[in-house]
Symmetry: C2
Subunit: 123 residues, 2 copies
């Protein structure tokens, strides 16, 4: 069984999570047979190892892991491999396919450019 985890930074302000929840809900609406969950690096729950191991317990065998970060800095390049190692120790049979962060997607950059230009014209 496959699943998708959207990995985000997290923040103290609960309003911060709204776009990530909208992203999760959009994906769920488009593909209702796919289990899609958020996971956070800090300040918010669940943590990535917690939800990944819970999925494995539920019978998930393959997880697609997408960092919902625009820039790939220390959190993606340094913290994430440590979390993956932690998951591997607890659920060694689980296959995790780590994808490039959303900011690497040309279509995401194009959508942001559209948004910025629309806001500039209307300002």
């Amino acid at each position: 069984m496959k699943a998708l985890i959207l990995f985000a930074h997290g923040a103290r302000d609960p309003r911060w999570a709204a776009p990530f929840e909208r992203l999760r809900d959009t994906i769920r609406a488009r593909q209702s047979d796919l289990r899609v969950e958020l996971a956070f690096l800090e300040f918010m729950t669940p943590a990535l190892p917690e939800i990944a191991v819970a999925m494995a317990t539920d019978g998930v065998t393959e997880i697609t892991l997408v960092p919902v970060f625009l820039g790939q800095g220390g959190h993606v390049l340094r913290d994430l491999p440590l979390l993956l190692e932690e998951i591997h120790q607890q659920a060694p049979q689980l296959k995790i396919s780590l994808q490039p962060a959303v900011g690497e997607s040309e279509s995401v950059v194009a959508a942001m450019a559209d948004y910025c230009l629309a806001k500039t014209e209307n300002a």
Copy 2:
């Protein structure tokens, strides 16, 4: 004269800036008569007040300011107003139109959902 500032977090790792530079370059390519610059909260330069005041000195009268953040947490809701006040003290004539963060855009969320689903199918 109008200009656009893309306000991002910044990070220690120089690779972090790549998607923001691609966003800036995409917007410049689409609207070559618009001055478009990046600004950062921390770790990278220029800082927001620095570039905004420099633009005012260059004759810019109106700036559209787009936070290139997915979530609107403390950085956007708390730090940004302080930076805007700092700019206002140095360049009181400058009009700044602060826009919702890119993560508030439905089309950006839709592009991220497309990306995640494509990665899930190919994984």
